[in-house]
């Protein structure tokens, strides 16, 4: 098997006696985009910072193309990190920002500027060469920051929620645009986000991280449909958790109006419609269950009204026993 581009082995990070990362094992293959997704405070940013060399690792190691970089200084790691804020240097123009990394590599000025302009063209910012960052919009700043990272030809780019300060529409389009660029360049990337839709859209594989540990890694749809732990089920997948053990994913459910159509071998729950809305041409219902004190959001065909009593049913075989899997 080919050596992974990035491999974290039993990675542990403590910050003043608190375990932030708990024996993380994670491999990212060449040209692969992996998304670490998890609730805020789960340690995903710390994971990126540990890989970039910004926090000391207390145990385990970080390998980059098989080379142990656990103790390498951050500036010596061929890894670049992008943040929520673009962090463009405010005292430099766009072109100076972009060529900053090249200058550190002692590349002559002419060559630097040539590459910089090329990169500016690629990120569609060629007109902004001599503009200072404060004059750019949030999305433009992130594109320049992306160019600034890309131009140093890192082996790995780390993204720490790079779109979270942008508005939702721009977020999607910039995300897809960046993914396209990464794929074009054949770049390996590790994203971190708390937005699972974004994770599903951007990544080849997702890793679900809860409380400093990775609970499941796999292609996004797999993980969504077949969660292997309560944590993954609750955070990443969508469905109903019973007794903190049995899980039914949302796509197994159907909504019906009367119980007479109930069949054998089906689980049935009673509830009422709390709200409904359309998204992308599909009708969604917000259903509050009477018994389980749970809420579900399900797509539906029939037209119910808010306040209607409904039943939701799922085939018995759709129930997964998460404890058994473990």
């Amino acid at each position: 098997m080919e050596t992974a581009m990035l491999s974290c082995q039993h990675l542990q990070v403590h910050i003043s006696h608190h375990v932030i990362l708990h024996r993380i094992n994670l491999a990212v293959q060449h040209s692969e985009i992996v998304c670490v997704v998890g609730p805020s405070g789960c340690g995903k940013t710390t994971l990126l910072r540990a890989i970039a060399g910004m926090v000391p690792v207390s145990a385990g190691q970080v390998l980059l193309e098989g080379v142990n970089i656990t103790r390498t200084k951050p500036e010596r790691r061929p890894v670049v990190m992008m943040h929520q804020e673009a962090l463009l240097f405010p005292h430099m123009t766009v072109i100076e920002n972009i060529t900053y990394g090249l200058k550190l590599q002692k590349i002559p000025k002419k060559e630097r500027e040539r590459q910089g302009m090329q990169m500016l063209n690629r990120v569609e910012m060629a007109d902004y060469e001599n503009v200072y960052p404060h004059a750019l919009s949030g999305g433009q700043q992130q594109r320049v920051a992306f160019a600034r990272a890309l131009i140093t030809k890192p082996k790995l780019i780390l993204f720490d929620e790079p779109f979270s300060s942008l508005d939702p529409l721009l977020r999607r389009s910039l995300g897809m645009w960046m993914k396209g660029m990464l794929k074009e360049e054949g770049m390996t990337a590790l994203f971190v986000t708390h937005d699972k839709e974004e994770a599903m859209m951007l990544s080849d594989r997702v890793a679900v991280m809860v409380e400093g540990a990775i609970h499941q890694i796999g292609p996004p749809l797999d993980v969504y449909q077949r969660p292997l732990s309560v944590e993954t089920a609750v955070f990443f997948s969508e469905g109903m958790l019973l007794d903190n053990r049995f899980f039914i994913t949302n796509d197994a459910f159907t909504i019906t109006a009367d119980s007479s159509t109930l069949k054998e071998k089906k689980l049935v729950f009673k509830g009422h419609i709390a709200g409904k809305w359309l998204r992308s041409g599909q009708l969604f219902y917000h259903i509050v269950l009477d018994t389980e004190s749970q809420e579900l959001i399900l797509p539906g065909e029939a037209t119910f009204s808010t306040g209607d009593k409904v039943f939701i049913e799922a085939p018995e075989q759709a129930v997964v026993d998460l404890e058994e899997i473990r």
Binding site: P74, E75, V79, H83, F89, H91, Y100, G101, L104, A149
Partner: protein, 264 residues
């Protein structure tokens, strides 16, 4: 019509500001040349060069100017050497005793310098630094460094550590980060520190007198005794000399910075 009123008001306000800023200097300048300037005369009855003759005939003036400038500049340098790491640590790091250090750093500002000076003179004598310019430079850190650290700390907090992190990420060593990112972003604070510590240093009389033992003659040593006299023109002339010295230093500092910026 409206824009005319607005423009007139703008000009009036600007003029007032400029006059407000320049008036003290003008008055100082006029006082230094005044001969018989008695209330309620608006302008001196006659002018004389006497005050300036007194100032420039002082046998120790040139030496004092030189010593003052050198000590002031060394004080600036030491303030940076100590203040930059300290301000950074206080801004970005959490450590035990941080709030204690913050409180202690206020003390030299609050406690009269004489109280500290006596104790430090004792230490300086023991260390053999009394009556020597090195001791004077070090003692000037007492009234300057607390301000320096506070200013730089605020400066660092303003920038935030993320730019430094971003730069390191792109391959810059800590020193390069400082040179290319921190220093330019921190420059307003750095300029404030340079000006403030220089002004504080050159105006120290008590500490300079105690530790320098009178052997180290700065401008303040010559100037302060005159303040307690009734000779207004001489006092005014010395005050102007102080101002000129400070402005000269700041201009030098500014040009150094501009030159270093051009290289970036």
């Amino acid at each position: 019509m409206k824009s005319f009123i607005r423009r007139t008001m703008k000009i009036t306000v600007l003029t007032l500001i400029v006059v407000g800023l320049l008036a003290p200097f003008l008055i100082l300048g006029m006082s230094s040349f005044a001969h018989e300037w008695r209330w309620p005369q608006l302008l001196p009855a006659s002018f004389s060069l006497r005050a300036w003759t007194v100032v420039f005939q002082d046998s120790q003036l040139w030496e004092a100017l030189f010593v003052t400038a050198v000590i002031g500049m060394l004080v600036i340098v030491l303030n940076f050497l100590l203040g930059l790491p300290a301000g950074r640590a206080l801004a970005y790091e959490e450590f035990k005793g941080k709030s204690l250090i913050e409180t202690l750093l206020l003390l030299p500002i609050l406690v009269p310098s004489l109280a500290i000076g006596m104790g430090l003179l004792f230490t300086a004598i023991r260390l053999g630094m009394a009556d020597h310019w090195i001791g004077v430079v070090l003692i000037h850190l007492v009234p300057t460094l607390p301000y320096t650290i506070r200013i730089l700390r605020a400066g660092y907090e303003n920038i935030g550590w993320k730019y430094e992190e971003a730069a390191r990420n792109l391959g810059a060593s800590p020193f390069t980060v400082f040179k290319t990112v921190t220093f330019p972003l921190l420059f307003p604070s750095i300029r404030a520190v340079a000006a403030l510590s220089f002004v504080i240093s050159i105006s120290q009389y008590v500490l300079t007198a105690l530790i320098g033992g009178g052997q180290v003659i700065t401008l303040a040593m010559i100037y302060y005794p005159y303040v307690s006299g009734a000779d207004r023109p001489v006092t005014a002339a010395f005050s102007l000399l102080f101002i000129v010295l400070t402005i000269a230093l700041l201009l030098m500092f500014e040009s150094l910075f501009l030159r270093s910026r051009k290289k970036v």
